[in-house]
């Protein structure tokens, strides 16, 4: 066999081994119930913000503490603690992907991905809402940032 073939085979083997070892690092998408069953293990929760429960974020006390309740499609809910500032658009999001793990019944969140009504398709519903509110009047474009960012 040629030297080049040996080198190529070795490199390809390394690449495959890398991908297989990567499969050991991957996590899974979970429901709240299944995440509670494996405390301490990193999971991705797909849930939404429970708007009937308090959302606590007070930068005066601690800019790195956010607490809220997440609820999933099976109507299970869990308290979530996130040690960072509140993501923009949190209250507006349709869906949250929460990365972290369950500890003592609460979800220690490391990262929040927001799925906002955005760009193309979903945009249509949002546009309709946007247009219909106030019959198309009441454009507030020019006082942009004068509004408070409500935590």
């Amino acid at each position: 066999m040629k030297k080049m073939h040996i080198v190529a085979l070795v490199l390809i083997a390394v690449a495959i081994a890398t991908l297989i070892s990567f499969m050991g690092d991957v996590t899974s998408y979970d429901t709240i119930a299944s995440a509670k069953n494996k405390p301490g293990k990193h999971v991705n929760l797909v849930a939404e913000l429970d708007k009937s429960k308090p959302l606590i974020y007070d930068p005066v006390k601690d800019p790195n503490y956010l607490k809220f309740t997440a609820i999933d499609t099976l109507r299970n809910s869990i308290d979530v603690v996130y040690h960072n500032s509140i993501p923009t658009d949190m209250q507006k999001s349709e869906r949250l992907v929460l990365k972290g793990y369950v500890e003592n019944g609460t979800f220690e969140c490391k990262e929040i991905l927001l799925k906002c009504p955005s760009k193309y398709k979903d945009d249509m519903n949002e546009t309709e809402k946007n247009i219909n509110s106030g019959n198309g009047y009441g454009n507030d474009k020019n006082n942009t940032a004068a509004e408070t960012k409500k935590p």
Binding site: K2, K3, M4, V7, L11, A15, T18, L19, F22, D25, V26, T27, Y29, N44, V46, K53, P54, D58, V60, K61, D62, P63, N64, Y65, N84, S85, I86, T88, D89, Q91, K92, V97, K110, L114, K115, C116, P117, S118, K119, Y120, K121, E126, T127, E128, N130, I131, N132, N135, G136, Y137, G138, K141, N142, N143, T144, A145, A146, T148, K149, P151
Partner: protein, 812 residues
């Protein structure tokens, strides 16, 4: 019903031209194909003439469509959905182009525009390969044209028409029952451009990136030409095109990184986001192809891999289009793309190019010349091929990881990204960097075919020794202590730093020792030095990235655990000088600029050790398109050796004059009082609580009231106002707040110790003090990243120029 004030003509022209461009590109494809197949020169020429005419017509249409849409956007004809949805009247003029390519359709038009330009340059420069190459280019134009028609065939919608009227797009909206709907403010003003895209990089980054994407079609089309005509002499003509493509695509990708650094609050320039990866992968494969192409030109080896790499590079461009536009990335990307019902069409776009070429390749594999004899170990081609293979495998590994959502969709699995996504990529790519660094340094000193080991040893000695010395110096004095992922990874970082330095020194010395300073032919070496400088910049700026806003504040710092990031946000009150590690920071004021509609924060930084003072102005732009909140734009203080990178994470605006007073209330444990939005109960009083909010010293007495706030909505909060009685009999009062209720509660005094009567003060302020939370990073040596890229691009362009001149000399 008639609607006054609508301008229907530009849209009709635009849509007609879009359809005509579809038809003419179909004719151009067929005629170029026929011209290439025709055996007789006369037939060839007549087909070629027809092909050029139709390609010309197609070009006119593409330009026409482009101009029509731009005319509509720039005149704010909001009867068109595209103009309404992507721009507004108050948008700065510079960003109108960014509105153009905010949507799917506009970016496809950009692609089509570049295909057309590339097509004409090709026709002008490379006559010999015109027919087969332009077959592919015209066919790509045809495919892109189908994306823009928006017509139903047998109930299936093909493409999406950018000239659709608002009232056709959403016929159900009640506003369209009024004839003069265009005068309604929300329609008149426009839905605006997404705030994140209101940045100058967004005007320039997409055109460059799309030129990069489009240009990868030329090497691909050359590969096609070689396979159908069984003529492999295209490799020399392909070199300048491939070099150009590497330069432009590289620039485009890094401009995106610069945009992320300038205007996104990622906290950096690269996050291994699927969208970024998708554009990096074709670049890596193209670089691999470029090197095997060079190997073949000089030694006759590696022609098959050149074919494969060029085919795959454009296929991965198409695949990246599929990934980013079909919505399949869903939960893994911060770029929230959602599908526009074009998934099938986009998938076909990939397959219609990839599968036939793959078939052609395997059908003709036997006819592609190879050399039986083994490459010499002391030859340049051997190691260059290994380098290409490493780059290619790195691209495959990145792409496989990025494609996880596709795997989930196809196989119904449930795989999510690993805990630390970035590290998942870094831990592999760092080894790629080491190998590529060392190969880049060493390989130039080897000659093609055969090198005398003694010659090689003599040449390589000086760069090796110099690089080792420099690397050891950096390890000892450079303070690179990135131990977050253990000593193994730190060692890998050191090795990669060595690789990068070796690459820089090796190539720089090569210009002097081997090329005798002849810059004309030094393009490759300069590009290598640039890329290695870039790599060094990446390594140092990432491994030494520091969060400055961390270990501070008088206010609660969250408990730091072993393997987690501590809190990275600092709270600043207006006009209160706050201690932030190496700096004192003061939030001086904020202003709203009506011109670019941003809120600027003025922050004063005072360095503790040398008293250096500077001001930074991060800003925030209120989100639009129905989204709440704001987009933060960072500001930076540039030094030669580092950047201080600052952005606002949230802010609260206080009342101009807070005149509300505390109203005193007498309570004892168990009592309840009311406030405007609910009630307050006093549960119990803790004397010297074990975990006070504010620590007290020995000899002091702390009293903390545990109170519950129950709002009308039934939400419960706790407040714990506190007093600390100090030894000097003075008293410190620490109020507590419920921000969501704008409620401040303080513990005034003890009225009657025996009856347990206390006085508390309750204040309902509409708003509290102005405050903001801030993140501050330090990126050392980030300049090297940008400098390296610029140098690399210069080197690539020089190299393309040099090879073009050589080709011309060959012809004469």
């Amino acid at each position: 019903m008639t609607y006054p004030g609508e301008h229907l003509l530009p849209g009709q022209i635009g849509h007609f031209l879009a359809l005509l461009s579809l038809a003419s590109s179909a004719v151009a494809t067929i005629s170029y194909f026929k011209s290439n197949k025709a055996p007789l020169p006369a037939d060839k020429d007549s087909w070629l003439r027809l092909a050029r005419i139709s390609f010309f017509l197609q070009s006119v249409c593409v330009l026409g469509v482009f101009i029509s849409l731009y005319y509509i956007i720039s005149n704010h004809y909001h009867e068109y959905f595209y103009a309404w949805n992507h721009s507004s009247r108050s948008l700065q003029k510079e960003y109108l182009l960014a509105s153009f390519w905010e949507g799917q359709e506009g970016s496809f038009m950009l692609w089509s525009f570049w295909n057309m330009v590339l097509g004409w340059v090709f026709i002008w420069r490379t006559r010999k390969w015109e027919a087969p190459v332009m077959t592919i280019v015209s066919f790509a134009q045809f495919c892109i044209a189908t994306m823009l028609i928006g017509i139903y065939f047998f109930g299936v919608k093909v493409g999406s028409n950018p000239f659709i009227l608002f009232r056709e797009q959403m016929p159900g909206l009640p506003i369209f029952s009024t004839p003069n709907y265009l005068t309604l403010p929300k329609i008149f003003e426009g839905n605006d451009l997404n705030t994140l895209l209101q940045n100058y990089w967004m005007v320039i980054h997409p055109p460059v990136l799309f030129l990069g994407f489009a240009s990868t079609i030329i090497p691909f089309a050359f590969a096609y030409s070689g396979l159908v005509n069984k003529d492999h002499s295209w490799v020399k003509s392909a070199m300048p095109w491939a070099l150009f493509s590497v330069a432009v695509l590289g620039t485009g990708v890094m401009m995106g990184a610069a945009w992320a650094y300038e205007s996104l609050s990622f906290g950096g320039y690269w996050a291994w986001d699927p969208v970024e990866n998708a554009s990096l992968v074709p670049w890596l494969i193209l670089v691999a192809g470029l090197h095997t192409n060079l190997v073949y030109n000089h030694s006759g080896y590696s022609l098959r891999s050149t074919y494969l790499f060029y085919i795959l590079s454009f296929s991965f461009v198409l695949y990246s289009t599929f990934l980013t536009r079909s919505g399949v990335l869903g939960d893994t990307s911060v770029h929230a793309f959602t599908g526009a019902d074009m998934t099938t069409q986009l998938l076909l776009f990939v397959l219609v190019f990839f599968l036939p070429l793959l078939f052609l390749f395997f059908k003709n594999k036997k006819n592609i010349p190879t050399i039986r004899k083994e490459e010499n170990m002391y030859s340049r081609e051997f190691w260059m091929f290994i380098g290409s293979l490493v780059l290619f495998l790195s691209a495959i590994v990145i792409s496989s990881k990025t494609s996880m959502p596709v795997v989930n969709k196809v196989f119904g699995t449930n795989i999510a990204p690993p805990v630390d996504v970035e590290f998942g990529y870094n831990q592999v790519q760092i080894f790629i960097a080491i190998i590529i660094g060392i190969l880049t340094a060493v390989t130039q000193y080897l000659k093609y075919k055969e090198t005398k080991p003694s010659y090689f040893g003599k040449k390589i000695l000086l760069p090796t020794v110099l690089s080792l010395i420099l690397t050891i110096a950096i390890i000892i004095w450079g303070n690179v202590h990135y131990d977050k992922h253990g000593p193994g990874f730190l060692a890998a970082i050191y090795m990669a730093i060595f690789g990068a330095i070796y690459g820089i020194i090796g190539n720089a010395l090569y210009i002097w020792t081997n090329l005798k300073g002849k810059l004309a032919s030094a393009g490759a070496s300069i590009a290598h030095v640039g890329f290695m400088l870039f790599l060094l910049g990446v390594l140092i700026s990432s491994s030494k990235k520091e969060t400055l806003s961390m270990n501070t504040t008088g206010i609660n710092i969250f408990k730091k655990t072993a393997n987690e990031d501590p809190a990275e946000n600092i709270t600043l009150f207006k006009n209160v000088r706050t201690d932030m590690g190496k700096y004192h920071v003061t939030y001086l004021r904020d202003t709203v600029n009506n011109f670019d509609r941003k809120k600027y924060f003025e922050l004063k930084f005072e360095k503790k050790d040398d008293g250096e003072t500077f001001y930074l102005y991060p800003d925030a732009l209120k989100n639009n398109k129905g989204a709440e909140g704001f987009s933060a734009n960072p500001d930076k203080k540039h030094y030669l050796t580092k950047d201080i990178f600052v952005y606002v994470t949230s802010w609260l605006e206080g009342d101009k004059a807070d005149t509300t007073a505390y109203s005193p209330v007498t309570m004892k444990v168990g009592d309840t009082v009311f406030y405007s939005n609910g009630m307050l109960t006093l549960d119990h009083v803790d004397v010297n609580p074990p975990s006070p909010r504010v620590p007290y010293h020995a000899g002091e007495t702390s009293m903390q009231l545990n109170m519950k706030v129950i709002t009308k909505e039934g939400v419960t909060y706790t407040v714990k106002p506190e007093i600390i009685i100090q030894s000097s009999n003075s008293m410190e009062n620490i109020p507590d707040t419920v921000l969501a209720q704008s409620l401040i509660v303080k513990f005034n005094k003890i009225i009657d110790e025996n009856k347990g009567q206390l006085e508390i003060g309750v204040k309902e302020s509409k708003r509290m003090n102005d405050l903001m939370t801030l993140k501050v990073y330090e990126f050392p040596f980030i300049t090297l990243v940008w400098l390296g890229i610029i140098l690399m691009v210069i080197g690539l362009i020089m190299s393309a120029w040099y090879r073009m001149k050589k080709l011309r000399r060959l012809k004469n």
